[in-house]
């Protein structure tokens, strides 16, 4: 088989990038059409967002006193100026479900879902490759591995907290590194996604697509 745009050995970086984008887009369309890959996408995105929320301590078990305050099984407290708080990156509502409470911080949730989607799409493409073993050797673990720095970056907002957890002494260099974790993880995930899309060349035909590969 041959790729739609050929090997591209003499083409410029822009053309290569466009090809990678096109292939990735087709791969994602094919993944969404595959029930298992689509399920992986949704589950991993939601799962990642949940783990992220725990990592930044937006989600957890309420304290004794808070639980003792009892307002029923479910309660929600919304701040008086939610828009102002949302724009400043603060929480706008605290939702309690029994002993579990969730702090709704729109900015944090947006970041968590965005990174979760990147992780999810990586995993979805990996799943597609796994379900079509003839295509190429994209490891399903690639999406997970790329997502780890993103998960760790969940502590970036809280600065030294990661050092408390790890029992390390914070230095300015280490704090700087923490601050770069989130953008670095996004870049890694995007690169991983494009790499997967490049290797998993899908020609859309039918509901699940047909895969073309040189590998």
């Amino acid at each position: 088989m041959s790729r739609e745009h050929g090997g591209g050995g003499s083409r410029g970086p822009a053309a290569v990038a466009m090809t990678a984008l096109a292939r990735t887009r087709r791969g994602l369309v094919a993944a969404l059409a595959d029930r298992v890959a689509a399920a992986v996408l949704v589950a991993s995105t939601v799962g990642y967002a949940l783990v992220y929320a725990v990592a930044v301590r937006d989600l957890g078990v309420a304290s004794r006193a808070t639980r003792g305050g009892g307002e029923g099984l479910v309660s929600a407290t919304v701040v008086a100026t939610p828009l102002t708080r949302a724009l400043s990156g603060e929480g706008v509502a605290l939702v309690a479900l029994g002993p579990v409470e969730y702090l709704f911080v729109p900015a944090t949730l947006a970041v968590a879902v965005a990174i979760g989607l990147l992780v999810g799409t990586n995993l979805a493409l990996s799943t597609l490759a796994w379900r079509r073993p003839a295509v190429c050797d994209i490891s399903p673990a690639s999406g997970l591995a790329a997502g780890l720095p993103a998960l760790l970056s969940g502590t970036a907002c809280c600065g030294p907290l990661v050092f408390i957890v790890l029992g390390l002494q914070a230095t300015s260099a280490a704090l700087t590194a923490i601050a770069w974790l989130r953008p670095a993880s996004v870049l890694l995930l995007v690169a991983s996604l494009l790499w997967a899309g490049w290797n998993l060349d899908v020609r859309a035909s039918g509901s699940s697509g047909t895969m073309l590969s040189e590998m």
Binding site: R57, D58, G60, A62, S63, R64, A65, T66, G68, G69, T77, V78, V79, A80, T81, R85, E90, G91, V92, A93, L94, E101, L103, F104, C157, C158, G159, P160, L161, F163, I164, G167, Q169, A170, T171, S172, L175, I178
Partner: protein
């Protein structure tokens, strides 16, 4: 603090001294009202009367200032706090609170709320005050704030909260109570004493107290302390190393327990740390007089100690233990002998008369609980009394 306050009432309820450190708190101290002017004519917090011991060159402190992670105001101060009567707030007895008992106001500021905000801009007995708490150094301090408010700069020095005032943007490390950067550099704040205790103890001592509620204007998971727990102590509070490099590490040679709690006090020219666990056992601790720093202090174990140099006793500082609030009160001994009452805890005999720990007829010092690494880092020449 407000000139509305009487000294007796204040001494009866606060953990602060009657000298320059709390000059602004006392109705008899002159020299109030001169508020320095910052940039653009904005005035910042009022300056203290008299000098507070501060051993570090400001450029060294600025060099040692690091980012704590969040940006300026990334940890938002509470600027419109609300309070409720003691019976209306579901708090466990072992929750840590920072208490203030004044002439008109009796309030408890909960650690569970302040750990998320670090500063509450409030008014106590008619005087604008900032109640501040730094989790990494275990220090709770009040400051007069004048016509401005204090905020969290996002910076730390010696692991300690660096505050800024919103009038001049000057930077004030909390424990030093001194501006080390900005238009107010060199000025020092008027301190307002707070008592570090637990909710059950505070409520029993002050049934009429109000307590800071979680209605702060922010949604936070109050009660979920990102650093650990105090009851029992765990996480960062429970031990282990400091999170950031100390200004000075000489304290480790005296006692290599960074998180051990001391009760610190400073005069114009020295600092003293009383070991709090030891104070609980011995009830009275006293320096050996003279005020020399770096002498390691003395282990008096009672009123008969620290009298090796009778001529210097007037400068000695002593701490007495108050079991009701689990706190220590620090006084200048003035050459007086202080002995614990053998039969009743929390009572002490001075000049033949019995007094409560918080109401000895001596000059009381501003004092605060602090982690040993913080105190030793800021005051390398501090006396350590145990």
């Amino acid at each position: 603090m407000s000139h509305y306050l009487t000294r007796r009432r204040l001494l009866g309820s606060l953990g602060l001294a009657g000298v320059a450190a709390v000059a602004g708190c006392l109705d008899r101290v002159p020299g109030r009202g001169a508020v320095p002017v910052g940039t653009d004519g904005a005035s910042g917090p009022p300056s203290r009367d008299g000098t507070l011991y501060q051993p570090w060159p400001h450029d060294r402190l600025r060099e040692a200032t690091v980012s704590g992670g969040p940006d300026k105001d990334g940890i938002p101060s509470v600027d419109d706090p609300s309070f409720a009567p003691a019976g209306e707030v579901p708090l466990a007895d072992d929750e840590v609170v920072f208490g203030y008992a004044g002439e008109a106001d009796v309030k408890a500021y909960t650690q569970r709320v302040l750990v998320w905000h670090e500063i509450t801009n409030d008014t106590l007995d008619g005087t604008p005050v900032a109640v501040t708490y730094c989790p990494l150094t275990g220090t709770a301090m009040g400051f007069e704030r004048g016509d401005t408010t204090l905020g969290v700069s996002g910076k730390l020095v010696n692991s300690n909260l660096v505050m800024y005032d919103r009038a001049t943007d000057s930077r004030w490390p909390q424990v030093l109570a001194t501006a080390v950067d900005g238009p107010r550099e060199g000025d020092q704040l008027r301190e307002v004493g707070l008592t570090w205790t637990t909710w059950g103890r505070w409520r029993e001592a002050h049934p009429d107290t109000e307590v800071l509620t979680e209605d702060t204007g922010y949604a936070k998971r109050y009660g979920s302390d990102p650093y650990g727990n105090y009851n029992p102590t765990s996480g960062y509070y429970g031990g282990g190393r400091t999170l950031f490099s100390p200004l000075d590490e000489g304290w480790a040679a005296t006692l290599d327990e960074p998180k051990r709690v001391v009760i610190g006090a400073r005069t114009a020219d020295r600092a003293v740390a009383f070991d709090k666990p030891t104070l609980r056992e011995k009830r009275v601790l006293e320096t050996d007089g003279g005020g020399a720093n770096g002498d390691g202090g003395s282990d008096t174990g009672g009123a008969d100690g620290g009298d090796g140099d009778a001529g210097a006793d007037a400068d000695a500082l002593l701490a007495v233990y108050d079991p009701g609030l689990d706190t220590g009160w620090v006084y200048r001994s003035g050459g007086e002998s202080v002995e614990p009452d053998d039969d009743r805890e929390g009572l002490f005999v001075v000049d033949g008369e019995t007094h409560r720990a918080g109401d000895l007829p001596l000059e009381r010092m501003y004092a605060l609980d602090a982690m040993w690494h913080a105190w030793g880092g800021f005051y390398p020449e501090t006396a350590y009394v145990a």
